[in-house]
Symmetry: D3
């Protein structure tokens, strides 16, 4: 039988291929090891000032952010090396990312950051804003899809047009009336276009600051918003 | 005081910024919602034959893989549309990825796949082989780092040289003696070079088949190997 | 004589070639015409608010800038469409471009803007910051050289290394220790590197805002700092 | 008041920002310095033969050109290193650039040179032909706009189509019927297409000869045609 | 007469220009020299095992191929360094290239290989599959045209659409429904699309294996199928 | 036996694979068909003037070239559409390609044309100058190798450095002293550098004229210099 020749090739291979997915002893053994993985302590290639040396307003912001979020994102630490730039960076950031007006949701804004930061190969921004997108959108896989290839991610036509425009800005393409028409076709007006473009423009800055400082994402960002855990945290799933 | 002007800019913004990380009610509430996210049913833009119509040898391989791994990776379903190509694809795959000889670990092989598949913007291969890398390497964040930018990932010089060579092959660069010397400097011999290059070459094929078929990763791959679970989980699943 | 054949080809052509440089009547006639060229009125594709509708602080800044510089650069008008972003943009701008500390001169800072904005094909920033460079550096041709091709402009090794780094940041290259070493070789320390990189990063943002708004340079910028005028000009203007 | 915080950021900065535009003492002081800027003596990295050693026909052409234009463009000096190539270069040049027939004006021809030479980052051709364009077109800013980014320069649809075709030829794109149709839509016939394409092709050669010789533009070219000067040359403006 | 100047330039040059095409005494003298050109002995940068050391099945395949084709293509020798990969490579190859079903002719398949292998600058595959295309298609110049530039080769609209799709796969473009529609317009169905894409994907692998091994084409491939020889040639050569 | 499974995959495939290389009836049958291949009549997308309408000097050149070479290369016909440009084109061409001085052989010059014209995807120049290279060099395969990928062609270090420089000029790279040093290391002086660069520059023009006119190579060029013919062919030389 012709098939028998093929099976000789495939059977043992298949055995190796997914064996690790179920090691003898169950997954628990694997997990225990993961717990001991030490996150790399590096945050930036520039010195991070100790809290006591920071200007009062910056220290206060950091405390507030950490209290609300559970940990302090490394971007705050890395940029505190230059307090004056820290202030203008976060003032600009908040103006663009935390607006409650206009046609963009918070998840939309994060998706723009993921797509454009990936174009710029910015580790910090892709990892941290993918986490924020998962949390805002409650879609645990879309940010990963957009990071790999937004062109075949599971996007609505509106989201696709939004990212097409964001990427045009990200690449510093010459923006023409046609770009605005493509946005209008899916319901974005000119103010939304400014918002999309300004976010892409701001992260053009942010991604490059991350490259200069070799900014490293907090280990928490890699998993935030990915998996549901048992409600009582001791459940069986 | 100069600082008071800045704080006006920053305080409210910081409030919005990370609020979602800790919604009222704690994280459990968020997670509960994630559980209801329905994975998209699409696997391939080509028809996937029902199991009963598959050749016996292919059906047997699928059963074995699913039994061992806990689920059947969609690449098996997508390529079963062409049984003869299925056989040669997996025979080739196993020859390169499941070898026990030579200088490459299984984690090394997966890392090559992640880096080169990202270059080719292949959703299926980046997501699925990042999962396999996390499992083999027990490093839950390195594959994500390599996917975004292998040049500043936390790699050993040996891993960096390995990926430099793999990317050269991936881009179809003209391979010269200098490439082999760079590998030798970190301990890889010519047979290892073949292995690294052949994996990059095979996934040049695999990534393109995934693009042709619009192959979608199983939802399990996005989270596999990311998080440790409580030791007493019992592992029944 | 062989030459006679060639001369037939060349003589009349040479006649046409530079004739326009000296039209009958001398250059004055040409110049008179230039005076009537009407500058295009467009400033931005977004509405520019009338002064009376602007927030008080922004109107005050505009008045001050116009009083000092002789005209109001269009970037102030274009960005006043979004007062909150106007404030953070210029606060950030001033922090980076108007510092009196560190190893960069004002001319250095402008040269970084010219080189990186050219890479991004940003009309507003190339034209306006070339003018500022001519004024600060008192070199009337260097900015034009850098705009066309900084690699063969008449730069010192220090300036060349500075622009190499700025362009690496501009392209969102992964920044490595080697980049910092190249800067150190010509006397820049790590704080200078941050300054160079942060300027390149800020204009990555700025160039893209100019593309989104189709921002047009004031006609004054094209000629500022290009030509010396007679000493006894008296400066009445 | 919220604004007061912002003003603290902006006021002093604005002071620095445009201060140089009006140094104490007025512009005259600045200009005086510009007059002393010594143009770099370098013309080419190859030897430029002294006039007495040149073939008679070439020396005669140079004299004629200098007499008509007021100075001898460096391309004549640089290429005189190879008299036979000098003859064919300028014969070809004149055939394409000094024609009085067909649909292209002299300003059109120069604009093609500016746009394509910028693509090739050719300092000599961008600077010298921008000057010629300013003189022929009497538009003092259009060449600079085209040099930075012809896609958002203030061009007529006819000029834009002309430069689109010139750039396609410049990049060595495969020219198709569609290219000719796009030209026909704005009124160019096939002979005009040849003219546009041949100019782009000739400057593909010329730009590369400038790169080989590191040809430097005469300092006069940077300012020619930019500013109107008082008719009596002693006026007050 | 104006023309005489030109003739001085042209006559002697024309003499040199094509003199070699017809040396005094005819072509025979030249040809005799060609016969002594020794083909370079190199086949691969990896060792090629002697026939006696090869597994029985691989040696048998080689004998059969050589017997049928008149010489053994070097790809068989180069890949025999790894017998297991040799088996899966040729099994896959045959599945895609030697099918008798579907809408692609053998010449179509070879043309896809030529176009995509040229994109990847693969000497072995361009030279060997150009030969196969000449033989299958009986068109002695089309493969050369496609190798230089498939966009202006003498292709039917069907062939052009086929190569457009193959190149999209070759470049690892994201494949969309539009790609399939373009194929349908010229008569290819979805199974043909898979065939075209799978060939492009397989040669993405094959080209890279050729780069890794520096695989050299047999000298026979350069001329196979190019020229007709006299019917009564009798085979003395 | 494991091998039997593999043989099932390979045997029949090998049968199909090279069958066409030896059709029943021997090669003569194939060749007879090739003889009937009609060369495409198209030469240029612009009109080619009939000989009687050509200027006397151009007609004379054409006759001379055809008499010496055995056929008239299509470039003469295509460019005769513009007699004045025809004259300067061939005057320039001859100056660069038919020199007897300096360090470049005629074969070297043709190799530069092949490599750079391939970069520009110019069908006419690659095919015709590959033929001239085969004739001058008496190496029947090197031009094909260089066309596909000069980086792994069988070149001497001198030839490789020559083509590296030619390609730098071809791409319009900024040429630096380092480029000249690399040439000096293999024995080329500055005059040779000019020759290499000027040929690359001239064919930057020539390739683009071929694209504009869609110039087609004479069918003779595809095979010239490829094959040796029987010694007794009649030639005495």
């Amino acid at each position: 039988m012709a098939g028998s020749g093929h099976l000789k090739l495939l059977r043992p291979a298949a055995f190796y291929m997914f064996a690790p997915l179920r090691p003898a002893g169950g997954r628990a053994a694997v997990k225990a090891t993961f717990c001991t993985t030490v996150p790399p302590p590096s945050i930036s290639r520039y010195p991070v000032p100790p809290k006591k040396d920071l200007p009062e307003d910056i220290a206060a912001v950091m405390e507030e952010v950490e209290a609300k979020g559970g940990f302090l994102p490394n971007v705050f630490k890395a940029l505190s090396h230059r307090p004056a730039e820290f202030r203008t960076f976060f003032a600009y950031y908040n103006e663009l990312m935390n607006k409650e007006t206009g046609g963009l949701t918070k998840a939309d804004r994060e998706l723009i950051v993921v797509a454009t930061s990936m174009h710029n190969q910015c580790l910090y921004c892709v990892v941290s804003h993918s986490a924020l997108h998962r949390i805002y959108s409650k879609k645990p896989t879309l940010a990963d899809q957009v990071a790999v290839n937004y062109q075949n991610a599971e996007l609505s036509p509106r989201e696709l047009a939004m990212l097409d425009f964001a990427l045009a800005v990200c690449r510093s393409d010459t923006i023409t009336d046609q770009h605005f028409l493509s946005l209008e076709e899916v319901g974005f007006d000119r103010e939304d276009a400014w918002d999309i473009g300004a976010i892409a423009a701001f992260f053009a800055l942010s991604n490059r600051m991350a490259h200069i400082t070799d900014m490293r994402p907090n280990v928490e960002f890699y998993t935030l918003g990915r998996v549901a855990r048992p409600k009582g945290d001791g459940g069986s799933k």
